[in-house]
Subunit: 415 residues, 2 copies
């Protein structure tokens, strides 16, 4: 089998990846548009304030902790107060500082510490914190009903969805990404702590390894099917694609969301045990790429453009009609693309002798109804890979624009 190069041939490429990643960030710092805002190194801080929230086109960090929360207060003022409190803490934590200025409330040891402490001594680790507002936030409680974006649709039920309500929905979400998982978990935990009495955790997900690159210089990582994932992802350097596919504009509206985007989260269980008993040829046909190099079938290198029209023996399309890359391609979807930012996970066991593992899919797009939905509709109905997948959780959130100095998360919504 010549498709998979032996890992030994890569030498210690993993170390190289880390270095390349750091180098990539430095390179991007010089060349990229301001929206990229990378950390100078894997350990450094990513600016919190800006036109867009960080954590979207920021070079994808290695680890993630994601939380969806339900708002427990019914008072608009308390919700706004929470968002202000969170912003103060988020700004500090992304700078590599603890969540609050003093170690204990009022500086008194009789009071609880204002930071939980497990990130003391750890670097900023390129931590980004990104907030989103779910459809349910725009009900009667907070006077936001008229401000619900038309684009913040209730996601349709897709064929073969097997969603667990306890892993779906939420009034709010916060995505924490960092190169040190302890820093990401610390950030979510402290936001939850600060929100005590005002919010409660609805669900959360740890992602141990990134499955996307969001800048051109990042090496493409592999998902738990063993394939490179996100080769054709929208990259931070591609300002046109970001404008066309990611950021909400004044034409799209509503006004408070301009410069924001929509986040779609899907917890995708991967039945790896069944996949692992599938032949290499079948795996490659299902994906539409070679497993070793990641090249599209019919091509040579990973970044060769996908050509859906190449024919193989007997005149059959080299990339099958039901191959994943064909169905998910912009060419098949009338030009629709999304910015992916997912993570591999493993959550123990399913109780049936298998690992409970998969991909926590996160995508950002400008118009979910025209981008993610038709893509997922095509995949859930036609993609043969679906035999190995199970969508067990789902969320849709409007991601407000970045915060300006002195502002707070979502201030354009509450102004």
């Amino acid at each position: 089998m010549s498709g998979i190069p032996r890992r030994r041939l890569f030498g210690y490429a993993g170390a190289g990846v880390a270095l390349a990643g750091a180098g990539a960030a430095v390179g991007a710092l010089a060349a990229a548009p301001p929206a990229v805002r990378p950390a100078a190194s894997l350990a450094d801080a990513v600016p919190f304030d800006g036109e867009h929230q960080a954590g979207i086109v920021t070079p994808a960090q290695d680890r993630m902790h994601f939380v969806a929360l339900d708002v427990k207060t019914t008072k608009r003022d308390e919700l706004v107060g929470l968002l202000k409190d969170w912003t103060v803490a988020a700004r500090r934590m992304t700078e590599g500082r603890e969540a609050a200025e003093l170690g204990a409330v009022g500086g008194r040891p009789e009071a609880p510490p204002k930071d939980t402490g497990e990130a003391l001594g750890l670097a900023a680790s390129a931590l980004t914190l990104t907030i989103g507002f779910g459809p349910s936030l725009f009900d009667d409680r907070f006077g936001l009903k008229d401000l619900r974006p038309a684009g913040l649709i209730d996601l349709p039920r897709f064929p073969r969805d097997d969603l667990d309500e306890r892993r779906s929905g939420g009034d709010l979400c916060v995505q924490a990404c960092a190169n040190d998982p302890q820093v990401a978990v610390h950030a979510i935990r402290n936001l939850v702590r600060i929100g005590f009495g005002r919010v409660a955790v609805r669900w959360s997900q740890l992602g141990f390894g990134r499955t996307s690159s969001t800048t051109r210089d990042q090496a493409t990582p592999r998902n738990l099917f063993g394939f490179k994932d996100g080769t054709n992802n929208i990259k931070a350097e591609d300002a046109d694609a970001l404008r066309d596919h990611v950021w909400v504009t004044a034409d799209d509206g509503p006004r408070w969301l301009v410069g924001g985007t929509y986040l779609v989260a899907r917890r995708i269980r991967m039945h790896v045990e069944i996949w692992d008993r599938t032949s290499l040829a079948e795996q490659e046909d299902l994906v539409g790429r070679t497993k070793g190099s990641g090249a599209p079938l019919g091509q040579v290198d990973e970044f060769d453009p996908v050509d859906l029209h190449v024919r193989g023996a007997g005149g059959a399309p080299r990339i099958a009609a039901d191959a994943h890359v064909r169905l998910a391609s912009a060419e098949s979807l009338g030009g629709a693309r999304i910015l992916r930012r997912g993570y591999n996970f493993t959550d123990g066991t399913d109780g049936l002798g298998h690992l409970d593992a998969g991909l926590f899919f996160i995508a950002f797009n400008r118009d979910t109804a025209r981008q993610f939905v038709p893509m997922q509709q095509a995949l859930s109905t036609k993609d043969r890979m679906m035999e190995y997948l199970e969508h067990t959780g789902s969320g849709h959130f409007a991601v407000p624009p970045g915060v300006r100095e002195g502002g707070y998360w979502g201030d354009t919504l509450f102004a």
Copy 2:
């Protein structure tokens, strides 16, 4: 509150930790006894063969994936065949190679790949794989009944245990530790794949961050209570302590286990939300150390010896009678010590608005009945910290000695 230094004061200590870790390994390579066998850098390979299994006194890697399995075959030959197959794959993977020589069985693309692929291009990452045999392996199935070590006791039920059978026990366990979590998860997943039909996953646990140091130069990490953990851990450089407290000797028996040890695993849910509302002074009293520096109460520096006899205002012991460090101290336990090698975890949500997070405790000791058991008995009955803890999973395994060249995992048991 002066106890917690501001993280800013640490500068970018996190990056320093990573570098110090690498340096530590290099330093240890020169100075430490052969048993340490560290990787030369965080990305390099740790030798698989040796007197003892790797992953016990190896400098604690940053990430862990642990699995417990039930043996499904009832044939001794098939069990031995599995252990041989696993050894071949484990040796290769710890070298940074894929699980088998060729990408697909027989080199044919019609066959399933012999490696699942998600670690292609990643470094060895100091991967160690450590096997253990549970009490249930020594039942009637495999003719091992007479070889069950007397030390492989059924753990007693401790006060306040809240064990979930689905997170406890197992005929076998494998601990995978690596500095890249994808490498650890890949290793477990491939061992499970190789064992298909012969073993099934009983439970598994991902640990995102180490809570122990096992060499003197490793920085002490923090657990999710925000405290430094494992300051007084047995260190790899302390040959006397390893001999006295970790490795099974010919005097202990049985003969097949000489050079091995016993592994105790406990999944300890930490009720962090309640802890976070406890005052700093109370937290420090419960632990018996200061939160910032990790110094024992009544002392100045982290590594100052714990003095249980220092008295404070009014003549009361500075370290309370029910403080964690007192109850767990060798002084209180007739000299008993254990080698800890645990990891922080977060597994989503408990469904009640809280994070499901805690510490996956792993300890190695020479005689569980005289070391771990009395320690846990003291803690579960007297430690006030137990109000914030819940033991939800448990396992006890005999860890065979290291494999010699040409041998296989557990060959001394089956010889």
